[in-house]
Symmetry: C2
């Protein structure tokens, strides 16, 4: 599959994890979305990332849409169990949490932190780049602590975030935490249960490519790639 992405957008990382967990080959194309390339906008007017093509068909726009596509088309062939459970209410819970991390956590935590600390250095000034907004960062950091308490309450009461089984919800959450952790902005001390859950996730082979991503102008936090941090 060809995936147009940005390596530090959490929903794009979620898509890469989804494809890796299904052993699907990925050709990644970095999409500088702020340039609004005419060929990009023409096929994807919302400029949603990730945007994927399966062979010559697509686009498939958005991480949650790609997740459903991959599960329906390739879920049967996945080694081990499927990442979307069979029970209808369990499925609703997985989807609720995927939306939580790709939308709510992204709006309140990962999106603003990545925008202020990574994207604004890559985006030309006349297209919205520039110095980070310290008040946006302060709010996102406060939000991160509340979110960690919520993730901790899930991780404490369940084996994986959506229940007993490892599901797409864990991948969406792990993707979102990984970009924040790259920047040393994950408040691990807020809840030890989050760290224990994330350690299990981080040691999966699907996670490895994310741990070697490097932002062009910002170095990773020293513990970022350590499995035992």
């Amino acid at each position: 599959m060809i995936v147009h992405h940005h390596p530090f957008l959490a929903p794009c990382r979620f898509a890469r994890l989804v494809l890796a967990e299904h052993a699907l080959e990925q050709e990644l194309v970095v999409e500088p979305f702020w340039d609004e390339r005419p060929q990009f906008v023409a096929v994807n007017p919302g400029m949603t990332l990730p945007m994927a093509f399966d062979g010559d068909r697509g686009p498939i726009c958005g991480a949650a849409v790609l997740m459903e596509y991959v599960d329906e088309r390739y879920g049967d062939g996945r080694p081990g169990h499927r990442l979307m459970p069979a029970d209808p209410f369990h499925r609703a819970e997985v989807r609720r949490l995927v939306n939580w991390f790709t939308q709510k956590f992204e709006d309140e935590v990962s999106g603003p932190i990545v925008t202020e600390r990574i994207l604004k250095l890559e985006i030309p000034n006349k297209k919205g780049g520039g110095a980070p907004d310290s008040s946006a960062l302060r709010i996102a950091r406060q939000n991160a602590v509340s979110h960690f308490h919520y993730i901790g309450s899930l991780a404490m009461s369940r084996n994986w975030l959506a229940g007993d089984q490892f599901t797409f919800a864990d991948l969406a959450a792990g993707a979102a935490l990984s970009v924040v952790d790259y920047l040393g902005e994950a408040p691990w001390q807020a809840d030890p249960a989050v760290k224990a859950w994330y350690q299990k996730l981080k040691s999966r082979p699907s996670f490895r490519p994310l741990l070697s991503d490097k932002a062009r102008l910002v170095a990773p936090a020293p513990h970022y790639a350590d499995l035992d941090f």
Copy 2:
């Protein structure tokens, strides 16, 4: 099904259309989300509306999650064809458009217009109610025109918004336009193809309950319930 909703939130209207199209009985409970009722927050910490229960099981949080649940559980029993097509790329297109209307159109058009003109009159001042913000309204009205051109381009090139078949995408879009139209804020003159498509939709029996909704403090635009407007 029990559905916690607000009658003028577009994603809640989408949920009501989805249930009506599947002939599922609905018990509607108005949720004044700004009150953050402890029993509501406890089961739905994101305070997402709609929130549904099927018998004693749930909650199912969010319109898109409910749509998948209803299709998987009750889609086979629907008179006529299913609202989620069978082809995987066609499914991805339906989901893209459902997200477009429940997220993007809601953020840029229906959400701000309904918030400023209806919700702020119902919400107590100390919880964020008060006079409408005219600059938010002006921006939303400009956005509405661009969105109408996009919907028009889909309606012109396809029989229904996501392709030849009537799908969930039409319901999500119709729900979003209906709240804007109630307030006389739908720029029908921007694109005649949108009006023709909306007329087909508006005459469906599932739409009828929406057309008799009344906001407590704001009367509908005169043409709101007319099938031939």
